[in-house]
Symmetry: C2
Subunit: 247 residues, 2 copies
DNA sequence: CGTCGTATTGAGGAGGCTCAACTAAGGTGG
DNA sequence: CCACCTTAGTTGAGCCTCCTCAATACGACG
């Protein structure tokens, strides 16, 4: 934890502040059903005053399961994984988190999961104390965080559905579709796979050999094409969607 | 939906109001680490003014996936299941919900899951409109709902861990431990199983035959004893806990 | 006491896990 | 710049568990 640089976020910022930003699909009916920016400029400016910008290299542990939970984090740039190591020796990745995502899930003052960076990460750290105080002053901000939480809950339930599938290729397809949405939001055409095969296996609840074989099969069936180990291209969108949707 | 009675919650209530109540383990450090009542008397009274008491018989659908989400519900008494039917014909139960639990998860103005009662249920229905308005006036109430959401999110992640286990008996043991906590909160010594084997199977992500066999094995190993089909008694707490914890 | 839905038990087959060997890639030091 | 070394990923063989299909037992209710 001593390698990342620390800088205060206030002070030198220009009048328009783009971060910290939160993105989610609202629970209320809106124009369009896709994800939207939750925070207004004014709200971001209020948040940034309570925040500290932190930079983490790849493969850095941000916090560990069970350690005291002082802060929550909003990702500005980069990818992290949130996981728990189980008594059986297995590791369960609960979520991959990207720009504009929130992490810092706690129970009784302690973090529930371990969070580790996959890529270099820039994140906004906000102390729980400051945040709850801000919630008192600005219920509007609190409502946006609540909205984000609802979104994360839906994603968690979706994850449970993925894991529940019996077929390895189907599970992989569902993950790829998730990552595709991420990549599209980032403006990429192909799907970025920043995480390792082992991470994917731990997310999908299977062995990394099974991930490898499932990848192979998807490719042999002509649905996708792997470009190196960290990029995938959809070739047959029709069949791919059918497979992913056949939960 | 025409069989349940409707009654306004205000009006005839005594000065002390015990419901609607919400229970959760707070994310902040507290005395003890167990679940606590989130709402103060004053907060309950404010909520009850915006709420309608509804009664549902057993096996009643409260709402369906995709229907417009006008309200959230707080359970006063009874048990419900929240599920989705998948394209494959399988059903995935996302959660069993009990007294003092919250349901009504929505996305873009539509309910995500179908909710159906298992036992007769008394619930407080609160319109989303009234609730968000109340959140504006009373950020303290909003914070308690946020706290409950965090709790539910942890439970959802726990569910994903359960489903991820390979061994049927271990999965069943984890569910039984969850239900045991519920039963203890309700003051019962033995574990109540209000739901069917099929429900259990759909929650654990396996076939109901596998549930049956796993139950049998738990019993043969002397860990538990089934008293009828809807009650279980733990006989060997030691081994039972070890099995459930060996995620 | 019969009947229908729920639950249990059995046999056979498919899929993923484990163990193990091998290949590819990336990083380091000479 | 290349050889080496370490880590990550792929491929193969055998086993084990759970799923599927099918038949039987139980139990709640009329």
């Amino acid at each position: 934890m001593s390698t990342q640089s620390i800088r205060h976020a206030g002070g030198t910022t220009a009048p328009t502040v783009r971060e910290p930003a939160l993105v989610a699909i609202p629970f209320l009916k809106t124009t369009g059903s896709g994800p939207v920016q939750l925070l207004s400029d004014a709200q971001r400016q209020q948040l940034v005053r309570s925040a500290t910008v932190r930079h983490f290299p790849a493969r850095t542990i941000v916090y560990r399961t069970g350690s005291p939970s002082d802060s929550v984090f909003v990702i500005g740039e980069g990818v992290v994984k949130s996981y728990r190591d189980l008594a059986s020796g297995r590791r369960r990745i609960a979520a991959f988190l990207f720009a504009r995502d929130l992490f810092g899930l706690a129970e009784a003052g302690h973090y529930v999961n371990t969070v580790e960076t996959i890529t270099p990460v820039r994140a906004y750290e906000i102390s729980v104390e400051a945040l709850t105080e801000l919630f008192q002053r600005e219920p509007g901000i609190e409502l946006q965080f609540l909205c984000k939480l609802v979104h994360v809950l839906r994603e968690s339930q979706h994850h449970a559905i993925i894991i529940g599938r019996r077929d390895a290729v189907g599970r992989l397809a569902m993950l790829l579709r998730m990552l595709q949405k991420q990549s599209l939001q980032g403006g990429r055409k192909d799907i970025a796979l920043p995480m390792s095969r082992s991470d994917i296996a731990n997310y999908l609840g299977m062995s990394l050999e099974a991930v490898s074989r499932a990848s192979r099969r998807l490719e042999l069936q002509g649905m996708v094409e792997f470009v190196g180990r960290h990029e995938v291209r959809i070739l047959d969108r029709q069949r791919f969607e059918a497979l992913a949707a056949a939960a």
